[in-house]
Symmetry: C2
Subunit: 356 residues, 2 copies
C-alpha cells in the first residue's frame, strides 16, 4: 500500500497538488486496502485518510492499517470539515469521472478557499502498471479460473439451464482457489449468445446452440477474465467457419502484441482480419481491456483508445462475432505484457468443443 500511495504522491508533486480526494471504490481499495461499499479517501503529502460509516468501524482499521480512519455518521464529507483535513491544502484534486455532482458540492462547501482540480485517470494510470505481488495474485486468479473451467466443462449437457451453469461456476470457483468471483458470470446460449453481455436465464442448452461462457475468479481482490464458447451438437459449416474466424482473431491478437504499441493499433489489426473474413459489423465491441482490482481498467483496447500497451500491464484479448437471431462466439484470454514479452495467463484450449 505504501508504495502505491508514494506513486500517487509523486504524481501529485508533478501536478503541484496538495491533496487528492478519492471517491472511486476500486481506487480507494487500491490505495488503502479498504474493500467496503461506502468510503472516501484523502491523500496529502503527509497523511492518508479513510472516511467510512459505522458498519465498517472494526473492518476499516483491519483492512487499511496505514490510513487514519474517521467514521462519519451520515455525510462522508463532514469529517473533512470537522477534522480540518484539508485545512493546509490550497490545490485539491478530485476524480471527475467518479465524484458525483453532489459530492463535489460538498467538497466546495467544506473547503471554500481550496482551488479544486478535476483529474481523469490519475490513479488509473498508476494502477495499470502492475507490481510483482499484483501479478502473482492475477496469475493465481487465472489458475483458479482454469481449474474451474476444467471442473465445469465436463458437466455441460443439452438440457442444462444457463443459470445452472452459473451456479456450477460459482461453486467450483470458490472451491478451486477463488476468494470471490470476479463478476457475475455471463452464460448465453443459442440466439442469446449473440448478446455479448447476456446474463444467464432459465433457458436450457439445445442442439444447435453456441454457448458463450464468460467468467473469472478473484484472489484477494485481483481478478481474471476468460471466455470460451462451446457448441451443442454438430455445427454447420457456417457455424464452424464463424468459430474459426474468432479463433484466428484471438491468435492474431496475441501474436501481434508489441511492447509500447498503441492499443488502437492492436484493435485495428484484429478488426481488419475479421473484416477480411466477412465479420466487420459482427465484431461489435472492443478487442480488450486492462483488469486487476477492477474488471475494466486501462488500457482500453478499442478503435478510439488513446492508451498504450506498456510493460507490466495486464489485459484481455477477446475478439467476438455476433450474428443477431443466430448466435455468437467469443474467445477471451488474459495477457501479461512483461518487461520483455507478452505471456498468456490463460491456457485453456481454443479448439471448438462440442457437447452432447
Amino acid at each position: 500500500m505504501h508504495d502505491r500511495i508514494e506513486r500517487v504522491r509523486a504524481k501529485m508533486r508533478e501536478l503541484n497538488l496538495d491533496a487528492l480526494v478519492v471517491s472511486s471504490r476500486t481506487n480507494i481499495r487500491y490505495l488503502t486496502g479498504f474493500s467496503g461499499s461506502n468510503g472516501l479517501a484523502v491523500v496529502t503529502h503527509d497523511n492518508a485518510y479513510l472516511i467510512t460509516d459505522n458498519r465498517y468501524r472494526d473492518q476499516a482499521p483491519l483492512e487499511a492499517p496505514n490510513a487514519e480512519i474517521f467514521i462519519a455518521v451520515e455525510n462522508l464529507y463532514r469529517p473533512l470539515k470537522g477534522q480540518k483535513l484539508l485545512q493546509n491544502c490550497k490545490r485539491t484534486a478530485f476524480e471527475a469521472n467518479h465524484l458525483s455532482f453532489r459530492g463535489f458540492s460538498h467538497l466546495r462547501d467544506i473547503a471554500p478557499n481550496n482551488h479544486f482540480i478535476a483529474t481523469e485517470n490519475l490513479i488509473e494510470k498508476i494502477v495499470a502498471i502492475k507490481s510483482r505481488v499484483e501479478i502473482d495474485k492475477i496469475q493465481a486468479a487465472c489458475l483458479a479460473t482454469e481449474k474451474t473451467w476444467a471442473a465445469v466443462l465436463p458437466m455441460l449437457r443439452p438440457g442444462m439451464a444457463e443459470v445452472e451453469i452459473v451456479s456450477e461456476l460459482y461453486y467450483q470457483g470458490l472451491r478451486n482457489g477463488a476468494t470471490a468471483m470476479a463478476f457475475e458470470p455471463i452464460v448465453a446460449s443459442g440466439k442469446r449468445s449473440a448478446l455479448p453481455h447476456g446474463t444467464a436465464t432459465s433457458k436450457s442448452l439445445q442442439p444447435g446452440d453456441f454457448v458463450v461462457i464468460d467468467f473469472g475468479c478473484e484472489v484477494d481482490g485481483l481478478k481474471s477474465d476468460m471466455t470460451r464458447t462451446v457448441f451443442v451438437g454438430e455445427p454447420t459449416a457456417d457455424q464452424r467457419q464463424m468459430y474459426e474466424a474468432v479463433k484466428t482473431a484471438n491468435a492474431l491478437a496475441f501474436s501481434s502484441i508489441r511492447i509500447n504499441m498503441k492499443a488502437a493499433e492492436l484493435d485495428k489489426i484484429v478488426r481488419d482480419r475479421l473484416t477480411e473474413l466477412g465479420f466487420e459489423k459482427e465484431f461489435s465491441h472492443s478487442l480488450g481491456h486492462g483488469f486487476g482490482l477492477g474488471i475494466h481498467e486501462i488500457p482500453r483496447i478499442g478503435q478510439k483508445s488513446k492508451d498504450w500497451l506498456l510493460p507490466n500491464s495486464v489485459f484481455t484479448i477477446e475478439p467476438g462475432v455476433y450474428v443477431p437471431d443466430m448466435g455468437g462466439v467469443r474467445i477471451e484470454d488474459d495477457v501479461l505484457l512483461a518487461e520483455d514479452t507478452p505471456q498468456l495467463l490463460t491456457h485453456i484450449g481454443r479448439e471448438l468443443v462440442t457437447i452432447d
Copy 2:
C-alpha cells in the same frame, strides 16, 4: 414500464421540468428495463431515450422496447447533441447523487442554453412505492431465499470454510428459483462475525463461533435480503444472551411497525431496547433499508433518517450486535408494509440453531 415513466412525468410536471437525465444504473433499469452496465436515459414529456454502447446494440431493444435507443461510440452524451434530444427543453433535471462531475460538464457543454436542476431521490421516492407486479417478484425472491436456506442449513458443519458456504448459497440459490443472487453473500464466523459486512474468507467454522450468513436471491432483478446467525457447538450463557437480545429486537421491530410512522422512530424503539439490554454501542448500524431492484433503497431506517414508512413499501429489519474480538449476531427479515398492515416476507425460524 409505461406506468413508471408516467409517474416520473407527473413529478416532472409538478417541478416544471422539461427533461430528466437519468444516470443511476438501477434507475435506468427501473424506467426502461435495460440491465446493462453502461447507459444513460433521458425522459421528456413526449419521449424516453436510452443511450448505451455497441456491446448492448442487440440487447437494449429487447430489454427496453419502450425507449428510443441510440448507440454511442465513445461518449454517452454525444447522441444528446447529435440527435438534438434536449433541443426543445429549457429546464432539464439530473440526479445530483449519481451524475459524475464530468458527466455534468458534458451535459452543460451539449446544451448550454438549458437550465440544469439538481435533484435528489426524485426517482427513488417513486421506486419506494411498489406495484403489485413488483411485490409478487419480491415475494418470489424471498421464497427462493427461504428454499436456499433450507437446502444449505443442513450442510453446515464445523471445519467448513466460509467461502464453501458462499459457494453453496450460489449453487442452491440458482437452482431454487433465483435468476441471480441479490449481492455477494456475507459469511463471517468467529471473531470475523463482529464485522457487519465481513466478506467470506477461507477461515473454517470452529466450535465457539457465531456464523453470520447474509444473502438474498433475485427474481427478474427484484431482490430479497435475509440474515440468520447460527452457532457452532454449545454457546456460553453470555453468547446465548447476546443472541436472545437480537431475537427480541427483531421481534420488537416487526411488532412496532405502523403505517406512515417515521423510519427514525422505528429505529429508536429497537435501539432503546438493545440499550436496555446492554448493547447500545454494539448495535453499530441502522435498523434497516428499503430494497427492490436496488439492494439499498428508500426508506433508510436509521437514527438520522427523514424517511417515512409508507403503504406498499418493502424494507428489511435487521438488528445486530457486534462485540469486537468476540463475535456478532444479526437477524434480518424482509417486511412488506401493505395497504393495511405489515407482513413478514421471510419466515425462517429465529430460534438459535447450533451445529456440530
